[in-house]
């Protein structure tokens, strides 16, 4: 299978994730769509690692997984904190920090 196909699948998943981040209002689902975008980047990185026969791309993909896990932990902590304070769980309503 040519590697270009993997990259096209990666681009498609990235765009689906981007569309989800922009359209959904539930912060939990926005976080899920961010995961989709990060995973699409991972797929591209692994495909390029295969193209060059260099494992640096796979190491980078593992690093992206670490960062994604951190992002999920902090993001879900924020969602739980918002829920505890009885604030509306809606990214369109949470605009207190808007300039």
């Amino acid at each position: 299978m040519d590697l270009i196909w993997y990259l096209i699948v990666s681009a498609l998943i990235f765009c689906i994730g981007a569309g989800g981040v922009l359209t959904r209002r539930n912060p939990l689902v926005v976080l899920l769509c961010l995961e989709l975008m990060l995973n699409a980047a991972n797929l591209a990185l692994v495909a390029f690692a295969r193209a060059h026969g260099d494992m640096g791309g796979q190491i980078f993909a593992l690093m992206v997984m670490v960062v994604a896990a951190c992002e999920v932990a902090v993001g879900l902590g924020l969602v739980v904190a918002i829920y505890r304070r009885r604030l509306p769980i809606d990214v369109d309503e949470l605009r207190e920090l808007q300039g």
Partner: protein
């Protein structure tokens, strides 16, 4: 044979991604993402990234998604209005933006001059993508990144605990803003007109 597996995995991954974005219930979105991650691990296997695929299934589809399921279960069914999406105009613009982004990326990919992309990749070297090689690289060439990642995980874990901890000392969890509290009648009522120094001086009897 690899083609069959590729199309199977690609369709599964794209379907899972679409399900994550489109399903109304956050719980089903999480489940769709789990299927997406498992099919993506299959794509990683086809690219000879065995360790990344294993880490994907164990760390992502296992640990991180369990965290998601717990939070969705804790936060609960959410209000019905939240299940929907933004207004129709914004939705159209967003979908248009995603489509334009995909067209742009596809043009960049198809028009690229990289010859390696029109092949199966570099010749396979035994040991490529195996855990032993990954571990060796992590402890030699990428040692700094490895250590920084451990520090980042520690900071994120502490931060998540602090963010989500139960606050004590406030009778009503809604009372989070001091200024809102000071503005209330029972705090500032009494002597003085509104706008006097007494009002600005803060609570009289708490």
């Amino acid at each position: 044979m690899a083609e069959v597996f590729f199309f199977l995995a690609a369709i599964g991954a794209i379907g899972g991604a679409a399900g994550t974005v489109m399903l109304r219930d956050a719980f089903y979105s999480v489940l769709a993402l789990v299927t997406h991650l498992i099919f993506l691990a299959m794509l990683f296997l086809l690219l000879r990234a065995e360790f990344v695929a294993a880490a994907q299934v164990i760390v992502y589809a296992g640990a991180v998604m369990v965290l998601y399921v717990f939070v969705v279960g804790y936060v609960g069914g959410l209000e019905a209005g939240l299940a929907g999406r933004s207004g129709p105009a914004l939705r159209v613009i967003s979908v248009l933006f995603a489509l334009v982004l995909f067209v742009e990326l596809a043009i960049a990919l198809i028009g690229t001059g990289l010859e390696a992309l029109d092949s199966e990749g570099a010749p396979y070297v035994p040991g490529f993508g195996e855990p032993s090689r990954i571990g060796e690289l992590f402890l030699t060439d990428y040692l700094v990144a490895f250590e920084v990642a451990s520090l980042l995980l520690l900071v994120a874990a502490v931060g998540a605990v602090i963010l989500a901890r139960r606050r004590t000392g406030l009778a009503d969890p809604r009372e989070v803003s001091v200024t809102e509290f000071m503005k209330r009648d029972e705090v500032t009522k009494g002597e003085g007109e509104t706008g006097t120094m007494i009002e600005a001086g803060g609570p009289r009897d708490i």
